[in-house]
């Protein structure tokens, strides 16, 4: 049984995601959800994942606002109703 999550798409990627600001997708892990996302919108592939299958350096992915680099990265499990956010890294200061 996979779980349905809401994926938030940042403005910069919306043109590659049919103009959507969020998409509902199913999966058991963040990796499943990202695969499902690029399955629907193949143009996102090179923006999100590098050649080694890791999340790209300038991309931050969050489950319920926690950065997955501090969880189990793409193996982080998701529950029904979780929110997955994708954001470009931004400077501050």
């Amino acid at each position: 049984m996979s779980n349905t999550v809401n994926v938030r798409i940042p403005t910069v990627l919306r043109p590659m995601a049919g103009g959507n600001s969020s998409v509902e997708l199913a999966g058991e892990t963040v990796g499943d959800v990202v695969s499902a996302l690029v399955g629907v919108y193949p143009g996102l592939q090179e923006n999100l994942v590098d050649d080694n299958g890791s999340v790209r350096k300038f991309v931050n992915v969050y489950v319920n606002d926690e950065d997955i680099r501090f969880l189990d990265k793409l193996d982080t499990t998701v529950a029904d109703g979780d929110e997955v956010a994708i954001l470009p890294a931004v400077a501050g200061g």
Binding site: V12, L13, L48, R56, E66, D67, A89, V90, G92, G93
Partner: protein, 316 residues
């Protein structure tokens, strides 16, 4: 208190206030370190002073030098205060979507403002400053995002102050901008109190930034990469405008701390962390006061209205 020769002597040694009555967990204390007490009003006074003194010491800065720096506000304001006192000419690349108070403070201290497009946010200001520094090699580019004096100011100042004042600290929470505060304090704790865990909070700024051609225009500060980066942190979370503003108001209303919006975000992060701990002592950074955000209505206007409007303002 001793009489000092210059406001620059008042930078650092900031006070810590116990706000544990705001903690959602009675076994977790929460303490606020008031960097807003620095003379130009923010934590950035520390790094501005450190970067300028380092550049003076190595001869990069000479009398009459012109400096260039990208800043969403606080670093620029701190540099402007010091440049005015030292007679340097300062140019700040400032995103157009910062509050008017930030712009006015820069002007009050005599800085020249070079606007960068709002749609590109802070990353756009960094890019424009990098380009200008190549076109004008005679301008001194301190570049806070890659300047060793930035984290070093926290390694030698903020970190020791915290451990001296709060010897039983278990967790540290601060906003992630240049990463200087977290990397510098983290390096100090790694040597002197290695059990202390470091947590970063950040706004969802990247969500609405439009001026990026792709995510490769994203930005990771060299300071972050050089000083341990992800490995130096134990957690990082987004704090959204609703939580940031709610906690900013609670700090004012329930603790009398008139703090900026990113400090509310840090308090929100501390509260979230407290919920998950059995016990502990969290220190978080109040990086500036509320003065520069009054025009946003953050403290007094209808909360829902401000939550919507603040999304387009750079407040970290």
């Amino acid at each position: 208190m001793p009489v000092v020769d210059s406001v620059l002597d008042l930078i650092g040694n900031t006070p810590v206030v116990d706000v544990s009555h705001l903690s959602p967990n009675p076994k977790v204390r929460i303490l606020a370190k008031l960097e807003s007490q620095n003379p130009a009003g923010s934590v950035k006074d520390r790094i501005a002073k450190a970067m300028i003194e380092a550049a003076e010491a190595d001869g990069t800065l000479q009398p009459g030098s012109v400096l260039l720096e990208p800043s969403s506000g606080n670093t620029g304001i701190a540099l402007a205060m010091i440049c005015r006192l030292r007679g340097y000419h300062l140019k700040i690349v400032l995103p157009e979507n910062v509050t008017s108070e930030r712009r006015q403070m820069l002007e009050a201290y005599g800085a020249e403002i070079i606007p960068s497009p709002a749609a590109e946010g802070s990353n756009g200001a960094v890019r424009l400053a990098q380009r200008l520094s190549i076109e004008h090699p005679d301008w001194v580019f301190l570049y806070q995002y890659g300047n060793e004096a930035n984290p070093t100011a926290h390694l030698t100042g903020t970190g020791p102050e915290i451990l001296a004042d709060v010897p039983d600290i278990t967790h540290f929470v601060a906003g992630l901008g240049t990463s200087g505060t977290l990397m510098g304090v983290g390096a100090y704790m790694a040597d002197h109190a290695p059990h202390v865990k470091m947590y970063a909070v950040e706004p969802p700024s990247g969500e609405h930034v439009e001026g990026l051609r792709s995510l490769d225009d994203g930005y990771v500060p060299p300071v972050f990469e050089k000083w341990g980066g992800i490995d130096a942190l134990h957690g990082k979370r987004i704090v959204r405008p609703a939580d940031s503003l709610t906690w900013t108001r609670r700090l004012v209303n329930e603790a009398g701390i008139f703090a900026g919006i990113s400090s509310g975000a840090a308090m929100a992060g501390a509260a979230k962390l407290a919920e998950r701990l059995d016990e502990g002592v969290i220190v978080f950074i109040v990086c500036d006061g509320g003065w520069k955000y009054l025009s946003t209505g953050a403290y007094t206007d209808d909360l829902e209205t401000v939550i919507d409007s603040i999304e387009d303002v750079v407040y970290f």
